[in-house]
């Protein structure tokens, strides 16, 4: 009467099948995630008392004790910071709903807004916003349908960095990383950023070296331009030593000699110099840019739509673009401050000039990270969208 269960796997699969049906019903009937409407009605209208705590997501080097401690004392908001290495990570963390704000780059802002993860920012509650450089205000990456979604933090270009002892002569062009013959010289020692934004780096290179592709905006690429950029990166792949996303990991890799040349941020460059590693980058006189220009980023502090400490977040947004704090973070990280009055407060009196903080013309050669969309500027819908970029990145890495 007791049948022996001779096929446990099969029985288990039957159970799974039953559960699949059950789950389908559950998931189908279950309410979809709260799709709250965006729009100005979600803006904070009045600034209240601080809630005592603030949970931030930021890039490495943006939230450091040096300027966080005074903020904590002033506002009573204890700051907890989570460092993320890519915009994808930031978007993912925001979706957990456990953070109050994020320092988002252009390839995250549009996505956060579309997913209703962030609320509009009432800039009248942020007094220091008035004196922010005007070419940072009302930009397509921080203002959507005329509504302000964040406070500009600062901007910078991605750097070409190399070990001055091993990479000679000093490169003036990205071809040391993208030209197949030149890159092969440093096989296994190239450090490329591990994010689909690298496709834009290749597009910037091709814009200069292959003008017949007619690339205008490295983030708006039709199929032909996109394939060219992807192929360039596929040719680079065998020479890449490490695809980095953790700034500290890249510091370690350059420090131990495992990587000799790569794309990086000023943050790592400064850290390596401090450790005495012989690194060099395109000099300030060149605007830190190789001849093709570079991709870059203009970051925006955004407030989560699920923020539990909105008052603290507003206080932080006002604080971080206050002249002194913005000067400190800009100098620490190595980026151009968003706050025009910060230029008087920097330790290096030439800082703002070196970093072209007040030079809109300069930033025309820096292509801020953007979210690639199918709708191109030319009115057509044939550009590759973000999903295409991400999928392509996986096949580039191989």
């Amino acid at each position: 009467m007791r049948r022996k269960d001779a096929h446990p796997a099969r029985t288990a699969w039957l159970i799974v099948a039953g559960l699949v049906v059950f789950m389908l019903v559950l998931a189908g009937c279950g309410s979809s995630s709260d799709s709250s409407t965006g729009g100005s009605d979600n803006e904070l209208q009045k600034l209240g008392k601080g809630e005592g705590e603030l949970n931030l997501i930021s890039w490495a080097g943006y939230v450091e004790e040096e300027w966080t401690k005074p903020f904590e004392q002033e506002s009573g908001c204890t700051v907890n910071d989570k460092v993320a290495g890519t915009s994808d990570e930031m978007v993912d963390l925001m979706k957990t709903g456990q953070y109050d704000g994020v320092s988002a780059s252009g390839n995250a802002t549009a996505r956060l807004v579309a997913a209703n993860e962030v609320d509009p920012v009432n800039v009248s509650l942020v007094p220091n916003y008035k004196t922010i450089f005007s070419d940072l205000k009302d930009q397509p990456y921080n203002t959507f349908d005329g509504v302000h979604y964040g406070i500009p933090h600062g901007r910078g270009a991605n750097l070409l960095m190399w070990n001055s002892n091993s990479v000679k002569p000093a490169p003036t062009s990205w071809d040391v990383m993208f030209d197949p013959t030149m890159a092969a010289k440093y096989k296994g020692q190239i450090s490329q950023y591990d994010d689909s934004m690298s496709i834009a780096e290749a597009a910037v290179y091709l814009k200069f070296h292959q003008p017949d592709l007619e690339i205008e905006n490295p983030y708006e690429l039709n199929e032909e331009q996109f394939d060219a950029a992807v192929n360039l990166l596929k040719e680079q792949q065998p020479n890449v030593g490490e695809y980095w996303s953790d700034a500290a990991k890249q510091i370690q890799a350059f420090g131990s000699g495992d990587n000799e040349v790569g794309t990086t941020w000023q943050y790592q460059y400064f850290a390596l110099q401090e450790e005495g590693v012989p690194v060099a980058a395109s000099p300030a006189s060149q605007g830190f840019l190789p001849k093709e220009g570079a991709t870059g980023w203009s970051d925006t502090w955004m407030i989560s739509s699920k923020a539990k400490h909105p008052n603290c977040m507003y206080m932080w947004m006002n604080y971080i673009v206050s002249p002194k704090a913005n000067a400190e973070v800009a100098e620490y990280f190595g980026e151009a401050p968003a706050q025009s009055l910060a230029c008087d407060k920097t330790a290096n009196k030439n800082f703002c000039t070196e970093y072209h903080a007040d030079n809109p013309a300069f930033w025309k050669r820096v292509y801020y990270w953007e979210t690639p969309l199918a709708e191109c500027g030319n009115g057509e819908d044939d550009c590759m969208d973000y999903n295409d970029w991400v999928k392509a990145w996986t096949s580039i890495k191989g």
């Binding site: 799974v16 389908l24 579309a114 991400v390």
Partner: protein
């Protein structure tokens, strides 16, 4: 007192025991209801949900999961050659690691089970178990520093004009073989322990050389234990992404799942089905080879 009154005044324990008496299926049911709920409803249910999620897609801009049925993810997995490369690379590494560990673990386990003195056995056992208690991350970090340009391995090999493997697939194979070794040693040890010494003596008495005894008596009897251990080495390699990220630049199934989960959950779910299918098949084969029978 009437008999009824006596019966109804029985303490709960007795009533429970009475309830179970003669109803073995009720006993089994009561025993299994809690673990069953946990494993079947929660765990298998989660796997079922994963299966469903694999048929969903994601909105390219907002990243929101779109709950319509679509085979898009599976099409991508099948059509894009890169995913075939990644799956094969992962499976290949898993096979290599398993073989390597089997080869290294067997002599150690054999020595522990059949050759060492009782004190030696105890010491070796503790020695093998200790690394299980040191953090996986720290072990990987140790290898990362050892393999780096300025690390121990290069430092040792340089005087001979040689060079360490550096980071890459070789490093992944090396580090994983290292990490999972105790998981192979212990089952093989248990399996060898179960071989009665009398069998071995009998083989020797019948005139077999040690090698023949090994080949024709010990190995076949220990083989199921090797298979049992291999389940761990194979499975752990198949899903790992941390080691792969720390000592190499390559993409394995685990790394692609971990990075896809942030912006394309359905795709990550679809890819996650691959190791599930592989392991179920592996477990079925392992069962046939006797890994699940002992004691």
């Amino acid at each position: 007192m009437t008999a009824e009154a006596v019966v109804s005044k029985r303490p709960a324990g007795r009533r429970l025991a009475g309830l179970f008496y003669g109803r073995p299926r009720l006993q089994v049911g009561a025993l299994l209801v809690a673990p069953g709920a946990w494993l079947v409803v929660l765990y298998l249910g989660s796997l079922a949900l994963l299966l469903i999620t694999a048929f969903w897609t994601v909105d390219p801009l907002s990243g929101e999961v779109v709950k319509g049925l679509s085979a898009e993810n599976f099409e991508a997995l099948v059509n894009e050659p890169v995913y075939r490369d990644i799956v094969w690379r992962t499976v290949r590494t898993a096979i290599l690691v398993t073989l390597t560990d089997a080869v290294i673990a067997f002599p150690i386990a054999f020595y522990m089970a059949k050759v060492a003195s009782s004190r030696g056995k105890a010491i070796l056992l503790v020695a093998v178990l200790m690394p299980l208690w040191s953090s996986y991350l720290v072990k990987v970090l140790s290898w990362r520093t050892m393999l780096s340009q300025d690390g121990v391995i290069n430092w040792v090999l340089e005087p001979f004009g040689l060079h360490g493997p550096g980071y890459g697939l070789t490093a992944v194979w090396l580090v994983m073989s290292y990490l999972w070794l105790p998981y192979m040693i212990l089952p093989i040890y248990a399996g060898l322990e179960r071989i009665p010494d009398s069998l071995i003596s009998a083989s020797e008495d019948l005139g077999a050389s040690p090698f023949t005894t090994f080949r024709r008596v010990i190995l076949p009897l220990a083989f199921p234990a090797v298979v049992a251990g291999s389940i761990f080495t194979f499975s752990l390699t198949l899903g790992d992404f941390i080691t792969v990220r720390l000592v190499s630049n390559s993409q394995f199934i685990g790394t692609v799942i971990a990075s896809s989960i942030t912006n394309d959950l359905p795709f990550a779910a679809a890819l996650a089905l691959v190791p599930i299918v592989v392991m179920i098949a592996y477990l079925a084969v392992a069962r046939k080879l006797g890994a699940f029978e002992h004691v």
